[in-house]
Symmetry: C2
Subunit: 197 residues, 2 copies
DNA sequence: ATACTAGAACCGACCGGTCAGTCGGCAAGG
DNA sequence: CCTTGCCGACTGACCGGTCGGTTCTAGTAT
């Protein structure tokens, strides 16, 4: 997602980036369209040239963030081979992402409901997608004989929930300098011994 | 928390219960004070006899919910002996609570930010309290030789996150008739084999 | 090169709807 | 008849969205 990485200078991207910053800092309701416009260095009217409403602005920004997050994952998981290593890599990526893009992480975690049923639904779908991905991974591990037999749905949710929860601590406590490797090893230790055959 | 269990009939409790229902269904911003008053069978002005603002009403309601949730736990965990069994019991209680009090669960999970820094902080404190409780439990298990040595902070967060995530599925998919025992066994299976010595 | 112009891009003062919160008054009961 | 509890019509702040006007850009003619 080039629109969010700070490189594009067109108005739409400028507004989108400003929106990410302001929404992350204040949440949907406290964020004022005027403030986003100010932050983006454009007039309030200009915002409405590119987005039909505050809601749509949020929706677009949110989708960009999600895409960015998911793409980072897909790209960096492509060339791993063992399931064990892939799972570990998911933890690493999640933690790194949180450190590097804390405002985006803030948005992805905090804004749950409140923005309308439709977007909420979309968000849940994306989450389910990710869980499905982990599920597949685990299933593959079982088929390959790398992992013991288990309920893959529950296992995927347990893994996902655990990773998010540990990541949450980093956001909440504002810890920037953590030993990602150490945390990963600990989490994987907990999982593997319960997971591997 | 007797104020929320439907038994007390004084105006304040009536309003608190109505607030829980409406806030759960609509979220903080879409919920109208007038609607809560209507639901409680009182006039809008009356709400302001008992609560100084909409925010305070939410705050009080939220605290009641949290207390209710936490008390349920403390009460029913008091007389368990083995750590293994206590951890399992936490999962059972969490899942049962979600099924029995889905609107409250909705509130506890959804409303994260948006209501003001102060309450948000309070909520995080409560969550940390719960994690600390789990941490203690695990530490005790280690000391007793029931569990292997590990980073208890991470382990507690992993456990907490996993339980919440699996519970989340029940809320989201509206699954009422689940085999709690089966889910518990699966989760505990995943954990124990990674946790026990 | 310069002048002209259409229309795209941009802007911010203003409008209007929506509630949170108020307040004057009513009813019950002591 | 006074106090206490209750009520809901009203008020005013707030902010999303609009719109008339301005500036910028690029195409064309001279």
């Amino acid at each position: 997602m080039t629109e969010l990485d700070g490189s594009s200078t067109d108005k739409r991207s400028q507004i989108l980036r400003a929106a990410a910053r302001v929404f992350a800092a204040k949440g949907f309701h406290k964020a004022k369209v005027e403030e986003i416009a100010l932050e983006a260095g454009v007039g309030k009217g200009t915002v409405y040239e590119y987005f039909s409403s505050k809601k749509e602005l949020f929706r677009e920004m949110f989708k960009s963030c999600s895409m960015f997050y998911l793409e980072t994952f897909r790209r960096r998981l492509a060339d791993e081979k063992s399931v064990k290593y892939k799972l570990r890599q998911i933890i690493v990526l999640h933690l790194e992402f949180i450190q590097r893009h804390s405002e985006i992480a803030m948005i992805l975690l905090h804004e749950h409901a409140e923005i309308g049923e439709q977007l909420h639904q979309w968000m849940l779908e994306k989450q389910e997608e990710k869980i499905a991905f982990i599920k597949e991974l685990i299933q593959q591990g079982i088929d390959d004989g790398e992992l013991r037999n288990m309920d893959v749905d529950i296992a995927a949710r347990v893994f996902f929930g655990a990773v998010v929860a540990v990541g949450g601590r980093l956001i909440i406590h504002g810890i920037k300098e953590v030993d990602v490797d150490y945390i990963c090893d600990e989490i994987m230790g907990l999982f593997l011994e319960g997971i591997k055959k």
